[in-house]
């Protein structure tokens, strides 16, 4: 769910942002810090705004300068930025996870289904992210600002000629994207764990989602994130090994054979690899991705 | 297959070629035959689809329907490099060179495949005499000898246009497509370019898009007129000049008034 939110922003901005997951992390840390002072609810609003401001500064004084050196430089810039943000987080909050917790008021079980408890906080997260996505969609497609933003992304020169400040639009879009990533961090940081490694953990999955879904396709990204989520959840639940599978097929492997060790891996152990495998397969079968329209 | 008939005589033959971008029909059933060895000009108002037609012939875009043959063999929807290896070379309306290579390197790159060096990494490029000589010859021809070591991206516009033509002709392809080679040039630059084009396409087949009517009537053996994605007339310069249809659709408004 989280990564789908991240991905949507990705595609919207056109600029591939390596540091996006870092802004997600910053969101979590800012929420933790402001939460200490003001409590969770104000932090829910403050932290994304702060992240947005950081994003705006990044665009204004960083990305915009490297833009003229081309895509590779942009990519490298965000890559370096991810490095620096991670280190700055080390610097300020240390290497250990910080104690960023779900607020008491939401820390109860909403309902119980098939013996699994469904926590209220997850529902809350779901509501906020879906709400956010819907309003984003509406703003982008139904309002004048949205039209200007979309036009600026596809035909910057034209929009500039019409008298809009395109660089400002870019900056705001970038800042908005960062703020959304920050919001995801605020919501996800306490559900999972807020630590310097969290950006890395999310970042690469987001990438897979974008590639599988197809560059620049919102719907594709959405489907891909659901697909990957499903595959992972499903495979983690399967505690079968390849040996068992072959047993079903009537092949018995001697536990002394050299193949044994390799094949005794259970499917749940392969879970971390599956998304990437899916991505590689996708590239072979359909280089554009699920819903991709653009080449390169 | 009907392509077979045109085998010997036609360097290029297009049969009912169509192209749509989404819902917009840009090329609407073009039939065109370019005789081997002739200089053929393609004229027509802006947006008629001339560059698009070039892109279809050279494999940059796939056709929506129809077929294209080069020297009798079918090249419809083949990849650009495959078409190029069959002996068709093209230039671009918008300058399309290798900006960070030197002028000399630009030209040398353009002859490597033809000379059979392909992807070799076992030979030193500087030891390839034929590639060097061929590149030098082209360099001389396009008049950029004293720009030899300059980065292509640093050339003036006219020089880049000359290099664009140079890259196109360097390989010695026998069918050459030039897309507005003199666009944006001054009078004297145009004259030099025309002189160059007529010299380097000696004995070859040339298809070129050109807006300058002086150039067209000077250079072309035959002319085709493309309007709204259809060839409305094809013939010798004299025939085209006389054609009622063309005068109505095109020349009447364009030649009297100022061009563009």
């Amino acid at each position: 769910m989280l990564s789908s939110g991240l991905t949507l922003i990705f595609s919207m901005m056109g600029v591939l942002n390596f540091a996006h997951a870092s802004f997600y992390m910053l969101g979590a840390y800012f929420a933790y810090q402001t939460g200490l002072v003001f409590g969770f609810w104000p932090a829910l609003f403050l932290a994304p705004i702060l992240v947005g401001v950081v994003g705006a500064i990044t665009e204004r004084y960083g990305l915009r300068k490297v833009h003229k050196f081309g895509h590779v430089a942009e990519l490298l810039f965000t890559f370096g930025l991810a490095y620096v943000i991670e280190e700055v987080v080390h610097l300020i909050w240390g290497r250990a996870p910080v104690d960023y917790r779900i607020p008491e008021s939401l820390n109860f079980t909403l309902f119980t289904l098939f013996n699994t408890q469904y926590p209220a906080y997850r529902a809350f997260m779901m509501i906020i992210s879906v709400g956010m996505l819907i309003s984003l969609f509406l703003v982008l497609t139904k309002t004048r600002i949205g039209l200007i933003v979309q036009a600026s992304l596809t035909h910057p020169d034209m929009v500039q000629a019409l008298g809009h400040n395109v660089p400002r639009v870019f900056m705001l879009v970038f800042a908005g994207g960062c703020a959304l990533a920050g919001l995801a961090g605020v919501l996800g940081g306490n559900l999972f764990i807020t630590e310097p490694g969290m950006a890395f953990a999310v970042g690469s999955i987001v990438f897979v989602v974008v590639v599988v879904g197809g560059m620049g396709s919102l719907v594709g990204a959405f489907i891909a994130s659901l697909l990957i989520g499903a595959i992972q959840t499903f495979s983690i639940g399967l505690d079968l090994s390849f040996i068992d599978l072959m047993g079903v097929l009537g092949v018995v492997i001697d536990s002394n054979s050299s193949w044994y060790a390799g094949l005794s891996i259970t499917i749940s152990q392969t879970a971390p690899v599956l998304p990437y495998l899916l991505m590689v397969l996708m590239l072979i079968v359909r280089p554009r991705g699920l819903m991709g329209t653009r080449e390169s | 297959m009907e392509l077979g008939d045109t085998m010997n005589r036609h360097a290029l033959s297009l049969i009912d070629v169509r192209k749509r971008f989404g819902q917009t029909k840009i090329i609407n059933g073009v039939n065109l035959e370019i005789v081997a060895g002739e200089r053929h000009a393609l004229i027509g108002p802006n947006g008629a689809g001339k560059s698009t037609l070039f892109n279809l012939i050279s494999g940059r875009f796939p056709v929506s329907s129809g077929s294209i043959a080069l020297n009798g063999s079918d090249i419809t929807n083949k990849e650009p490099q495959v078409i190029n290896r069959l002996g068709l070379s093209r230039s671009f309306q918008i300058t399309n060179i290798f900006p960070k290579l030197s002028v000399f390197e630009n030209l040398r790159c353009s002859v490597l495949w033809v000379l059979g060096y392909r992807y070799s990494f076992l030979r030193r490029i500087s030891a390839l005499r034929d590639a060097k000589e061929s590149a030098e010859r082209t360099l001389e021809m396009i008049g950029l000898k004293d720009r030899r070591e300059k980065m292509a991206g640093e050339l003036t516009y006219a020089e880049q246009r000359a290099l664009e033509i140079g890259i196109t002709i360097a390989s010695g392809a026998n069918v050459i497509l030039l897309d507005e080679p003199t666009a944006g040039m001054s009078r004297s630059e145009t004259d030099t370019a025309v002189e160059l084009i007529s010299r380097v396409t000696e004995g070859k087949t040339l298809l070129m898009v050109e807006h300058d009517m002086g150039v067209v009537f000077d250079l072309a053996d035959r002319i085709s007129v493309l309007v709204y994605g259809e060839v409305i007339a094809s013939g010798t310069p004299a025939e085209i000049r006389m054609s009622k249809k063309v005068q109505e659709a095109y020349l009447g408004t364009q030649i009297d008034g100022d061009e563009e």
Binding site: V72, F207, M215 | Q81, L101, R108
Partner: protein, 405 residues
């Protein structure tokens, strides 16, 4: 100019070989030797990376995959030698690594090079993740957390070379480093190398001169994988242990830093980067925990202000040097250097205070903070002015320079 091995170039390569040969005599200490060995490996790795980024325009975030796989395969090969399963002198083990890198990059490159630009970067990252995740899965081959341990003396002594002492390992690395450097240089001077540049600049146009850009990228990537694998094999021999970290994202990111900081526009740029980064890394990491931050900042600075890296900064001065105009730049450079130095000290002060501030107590802390902050502000103020005067000095020079050349 036209020949690959003309006289001055032969002299240059000769002196490189000489330096490689003499270095251990100048720095015989244990630390220096292991440092030099590391440098040799880093140079191979960074140069092989630049075959992708600098020469073909492929931004890969997964180059360590080929380095690491080469390293693991070498470790197993050495262990096989030890078991007597097959015989290959340790001196030629880098070939095992290289071939492994080649095979994998042929295979994976076929998938990844189908799309250039940003998609390529993402896919390379995805593949790197996949391999890294698999490394934790297939413990038989990758040895899990502990990695694979080998014994480089397994082959016994050949002509008195047993690879017991570090200095022998250094020379092995030096020889392979030299060979790889020379080969990679020569490749830049071949039809393939030239076309790779063309593909980097304008892939579409290469199609219209008969080339298939995907094929060019694929071949370049395979060759780069080969040299990366050689580097990996040398790492295995050097450390006698190899863990999954060596093919991870950190390692891939590191080589991006090296190549870019050094400069991807010149052949020798990545060498500068490899030396600088490796050296600073091991030097800085002894002094401060924040060394990664310093690297990140250096990297960002270079992207923002000198995207050609250090080597292009140096190369930029070549014509001036020859024209004898360097001294006209000196005053502005000196002032930039001084103010830059002050700023740097101030920034370092702030960063280090953040890291260790809690360890100190009392007036000291407040005082140091004030000093550091003051240095940053003052330094930055003068640095701005100095940068402007440098730009001015360059501008003043350019008409004269144009005349001279």
């Amino acid at each position: 100019m036209e020949r690959v091995f003309n006289k001055s170039r032969l002299i240059l390569w000769g002196s490189v070989a000489l330096v490689f040969a003499l270095l251990p005599l100048l720095f015989p200490g244990g630390f220096a030797l292991s440092m030099l060995s590391q440098l040799g490996i880093a140079i191979i790795f960074a140069l092989s990376y630049n075959m992708l980024l600098g020469q073909t325009g492929l931004l890969s975030f997964g180059h360590a995959v080929y380095f690491g796989l080469g390293a693991f395969m070498t470790a197993h090969a050495i262990n096989f030698v030890e078991e007597g399963a097959f015989g290959l002198p340790i001196s030629f083990m880098p070939l095992v690594g290289g071939l492994t890198g080649l095979v994998f990059s042929l295979f994976l490159g076929f998938v990844t090079t189908r799309r250039p630009g940003t998609p390529f970067a993402m896919i390379s990252l995805g593949i790197a993740e996949m391999v890294a995740a698999s490394a934790l899965m297939f413990t038989t081959f990758f040895g899990g957390e502990g990695g694979i341990v080998t014994d480089r003396t397994a082959g016994g002594a050949v002509w008195g070379v047993s690879y017991g002492p570090q200095v022998q390992v250094y020379y092995l690395i030096a020889v392979w480093c030299f060979i790889s450097m020379a080969l990679m240089f020569v490749i830049t001077r071949t039809p393939l190398g030239q076309i790779a540049n063309a593909v980097r600049d304008n892939p579409e146009r290469t199609q219209f001169i008969g080339y298939n850009p995907t094929r060019v990228r694929w071949i370049m990537m395979s060759l780069a994988g080969f040299f990366a694998g050689i580097g990996g094999a040398l790492t295995t021999i050097n450390y006698e242990i190899i863990t999954a970290e060596s093919l991870g994202l950190m390692a891939s990111g590191n080589v991006v830093l090296m190549a870019f900081i050094g400069g991807i526009g010149q052949f020798w740029g990545p060498i500068v980067g490899a030396v600088l980064v490796t050296f600073l890394q091991s030097a800085l990491s002894n002094f401060t925990q924040a060394w990664l931050l310093y690297f990140g900042l250096l990297f960002l600075l270079i992207i923002l202000f000198s995207p050609g890296g250090i080597s292009s900064l140096i190369a930029m001065h070549g014509p001036l040097w020859r024209a004898g105009m360097m001294k006209r730049l000196m005053p502005s450079y000196v002032s930039a250097l001084c103010s830059g130095g002050v700023t740097l000290i101030g920034i370092i002060g702030v960063i280090e205070l953040l890291y260790r501030g809690t360890l100190l107590v009392g007036v000291h802390v407040a005082f140091t903070w004030i000093v550091a902050g003051f240095l940053v502000l003052v330094g930055a103020f003068f640095l701005r002015r100095a940068i402007r005067s440098v730009a001015q000095a360059w501008e003043d020079l350019s008409p004269d320079l144009a005349k001279w050349s």
